[in-house]
Symmetry: D2
Subunit: 258 residues, 4 copies
C-alpha cells in the first residue's frame, strides 16, 4: 500500500482540504466527500470552541476526517501558540497546521516566527505541520526542530498560479526527512498533479474548490489529479528531451518501393 | 453523459494512445487496457497489411479499440494519401491520422502538404484527423476542408515538454467547430490535465507511456490526469489572481481580547 | 563588423520598427531616431501612394531608413500581391513585408496564402520578408521559395507576451539559411534580448514602443536590449544548471582555525 | 539623474559584479571595466587581509570600485559576523554583503541566521546588504533591522535560470523601503533586463560573466541589459494582452474598391 504517514499515522489520501470560503457548509461537506480527503483544516475561532453546535463543525464527520486546526490569523509566534493551545484545551487532537502571517495582504508566512512557534509547540507535544515559503534552509530548521511535515507554498495563497516555486520545492523534496505537503496557490488538477509528479508527499487545496460553481465536481477532479501525479511519480516519468523522437518507427517501404 | 463525438461516433474516453516504442507488445497491450483508451493509433507498415497475423495487431482487440492508422513516415501529401489508401484497401476503417513530416529530425508536420492531403482524403470519404503545428489559421483551413478533428502539437514529439504552445492552442479551441485533440509532447499527467482544463476535447499520448519501466501504471496515471482535467473544465476553474486571498476568514478575536 | 545582411544589403542595426499606433507622427519620429533602427515598416494604404505629402511618410527620412512596406490588411495571397505591386508602382523599393492575416481578431498569419504570395512575389523580383507562425516546416518552404528572411512570431501581435514560441523558434534558427527576424508579441527589452540570445538575427517591434507614454525612451531601451542579447550570443552564454555552484570559492579558514 | 542610492551613497551603475570563478584576474579586471560596475563583491579570505599584495585585490581599482566584502563560506551568524569584523579590521569600509549558507550543495541562504547576523552587524555600524531567499516577510524583518538593501535570489546561485522567483520578487519590490537587488541565478542579459523591468533597483551577476570565453564582451552585454530594463521601467511598460491588436491600422481600401 502506498500510504502517507505523518507522525506515525497512516492516510490513504494525499489530498488535504481547507474549509474556508465555501458558499455554504453543505457545499463544503459535499466537496470533502468527493475529495476523498482524510485531513481537513479548520481555522481556529472562538466560536469553534465555545459553541460545539457550530454549524461548520457539525458538517465535518470526525470519524472520517482528521480535523487539523490551523492558526490562521496569527501574526506572530505568541498568537499562534496561544491558538494551538486553545484548540487542544477545547478537545481537539494535538495536531496543528501552523500559520504565522503578519502581512494581511499577501498572507505570506513569517519564517522567523514560524520556527519560533514550531519549537515551542513541538516541545509541548503538538504534531506540527508548518506552512512556509518554499525555503529549503528553513525547511531543514523546522525538521530539525521536530515538525511532522513541511508545507511549502506553491504560489501566494488564493492566486491559483500553480507550482511557481518549482526549483525550491524540488530541493526541499530532495532533502526532506518528513513528508512534504505543497500548500497554497494550487488552482487546478494539473497543478496538484505536477506537485505529486515532482515527488511531493501530499498537497493541500482550498480556494480552487470553494470558489467554483461545482465544489464537489471540482473536488473529485483534484482527487484524480493527485492520484494521477502520484501514480506517475511511482511509475517513473521520462525526462524532457530537446530533440523530437518519433513515436512511430519510421517506415521505409514507401521509399523502398520507389 | 460527457462523450467525445468524432465524425458521428461517440467515445467515453478522451485519451488516445499511440503504439510505438513499447519494449514489447505485451507491455503495450497492458498499457492500452490501463489507459481506458478507445482509439489507438498504429503506424502503417507493409507488414501490418500483408500479414494479418502480425504480432502488434494481434495485441489490439478490434472490438474494444478503434484502430486509427497513421501515415507516419510520409514526407509529402502524395505519400500520405497512398498510405491511407493502402490501409483502407487492407480492410481498415476509413479513418486516418494524417501525419506529413518531411523533416526526419524533429518530425514537425508540414502545413502545406497536410492540407493538400486532407483535401484529397476527405473527398475520398476518409475521416481525417490531421496532426498539425499549433497554427490557428491552418486549423481553420483544415476544418473548412472537412477534417473530423484538428490535432495540434503541444511540443515537438517525444520531448515531454507539455503544452508549450498554450497561447495558440487556446485560440484553436476557441475557434474550433470540430474536436481539438492535443497531440505530441505531453509527457506527464499534469500536461494532459492542463490541456483538458483549457478545453481541449481529447489528447493523444505515446512516448511517455512507452518509455517508462511501468507502462500500465503510467497509462493509468494519464487516464486519471485526463479525467481530472476534463472534470475541472466542466466544473469551472477559477482564474489566476495577482493578490493573495485568505482561505480562512481572518479571525479577530486574538486582538479583540487584548 | 557584426552586420545583418538581408538580400545583399547590410545593416548595423538589428532592430526593425513598425509605425502603427503612435499617438502622433512626431512621437513616432523620435522613437525611430532613438531606436537606431534602419528598417521601418509602413502599412500600405492608398493615401501613402496617392499623396506623397502624407504626414506619416514626411516623418520618415528615406535616406536614413529603408522603408519596408507591409501588406497589412491583406486577407489572402491575391490581396497581398496586389498591395505589394501598388507599392512598387508608387516608387517604393521592391522590398515587402508579407503579411496575410485572414482573421481580423488575432491577426495570425495564413501559412498557405503566405507561401502562395511569397512564390509569386519572389518571381516578380521582390525581396520578400514573410511574417509567419513559428512553424519550422513552413519556414523551410519559404526559404526554398526564395524569401529573404523568415519572420516568425514570438506571440500573437500586440500581446506583449514575449518569446512564447521558444521551442519552435529555436528549431527555425537552427535550420535557417536566411536571417530569422522574430516579430510580434515582443513587449519588453528582456523579450528582444532573449530572442537575440537564442541566435535570432533581428527583431521587429511596434506596439510596445507606440503605446508607452515615452516612445523615445522605450525605443532606446529596446535598442539596448537588442544589443545586449546580440553581444551575449556572440560572447557565448552559459547553459542552465540544475545544481548551484558557488561564485565565491569556499573559504576554509574559519573552520580550519577552530 | 537616475541614481541608485545605498546608505546615502550614490551610484550611476545598477550592475554589481562578483569576482569568483574567473579564469584569471586579468580577465576579471577586463570584465569589471566593461561592466561599468561601481560595486564589486569579494569573498573574504585570510589571504585578502594578510597579504595586501594579493593578486586579486591588485586588479581592483579601489578608487573606481566600492569593494564589497562578502561573508561567503559562513555557515551561521557567528561565522558571518566574525568575517565581517575581520574585513573591517583589515581596512575595508564597513560594508558587507551578508551571506549565510549552511548547505554547501545549493548554497541557499539561511533566513534565521541571516537575520541574526544582520541585527548584530547593523548595531556595530555596518552597512549590511543581505543575500536572501525571495521571501517578502523576511525582507521586511531585515529592513526593520536596518539593512541597507535586500538581495533576494532569482534562482539558486550558478544555475543561470533567471528570475524564477518572480512572484515573490514583485511583492518584495512593492513593499520595499530600501533598494532591492536581485542576486544569483541571473544568467543572461534578458534575465537582468527582466528584473529591472519589474522595478528592481539593481542586480548582481557573477557566474555568467566568469564562465564565458569572453568575460568582457559578456559584461558589456549585461551592462546594456541592465540599462535596457531600467529605461523601460522608467518609460512605462505596457501590460500583457490576451487578444491580438493590430500594429498597422487595418486598411479598408482593398475591399472598398471591389
Amino acid at each position: 500500500m502506498d500510504e502517507l504517514v505523518i507522525a506515525g499515522r497512516s492516510f490513504s489520501s494525499r489530498l488535504m482540504v481547507g474549509t474556508g470560503k465555501f458558499a455554504s457548509n453543505s457545499l463544503m461537506a459535499d466537496a470533502l466527500a468527493a475529495s476523498g480527503s482524510q485531513i481537513v483544516t479548520v481555522a481556529l475561532r472562538r466560536v469553534d470552541i465555545d459553541r460545539p453546535e457550530d454549524d461548520l463543525l457539525a458538517h465535518i464527520d470526525r470519524d472520517k476526517y482528521l480535523l487539523l486546526p490551523n492558526t490562521s490569523g496569527a501574526r506572530d509566534a505568541e498568537e499562534a501558540v496561544r491558538l494551538a493551545r486553545l484548540a487542544r484545551a477545547a478537545g481537539c487532537e494535538p495536531w496543528v497546521k501552523l500559520e504565522v502571517t503578519p502581512d494581511p495582504y499577501y498572507l505570506l508566512p513569517d519564517p522567523i516566527e514560524t520556527l519560533k512557534a514550531a519549537e515551542i509547540l513541538v516541545k509541548e507535544g503538538f504534531v506540527v505541520l508548518p506552512y512556509i515559503n518554499a525555503d529549503p534552509v528553513l525547511a531543514k530548521h523546522l525538521q530539525e526542530a521536530g515538525t511532522a511535515t513541511v508545507m511549502p507554498l506553491g504560489a501566494p495563497i488564493g492566486t491559483n498560479k500553480g507550482v511557481r516555486t518549482r526549483d525550491n520545492i524540488a530541493i526541499i523534496i530532495e532533502q526532506a526527512i518528513v513528508p512534504v505537503v505543497v500548500d497554497a496557490g494550487l488552482g487546478a488538477p494539473s497543478h496538484v498533479a505536477e506537485a505529486m509528479e515532482m515527488g511531493a508527499d501530499a498537497v493541500l487545496v482550498n480556494t480552487a474548490l470553494a470558489v467554483t460553481p461545482d465544489p464537489a465536481g471540482m473536488a473529485h477532479a483534484f482527487r484524480l489529479g493527485v492520484e494521477a501525479g502520484r501514480r506517475a511519480f511511482l511509475a517513473g516519468l521520462p525526462a524532457q528531451q530537446q530533440k523530437a523522437e518519433a513515436s512511430s518507427p519510421l517506415t521505409g517501404f514507401l521509399r523502398d518501393e520507389q
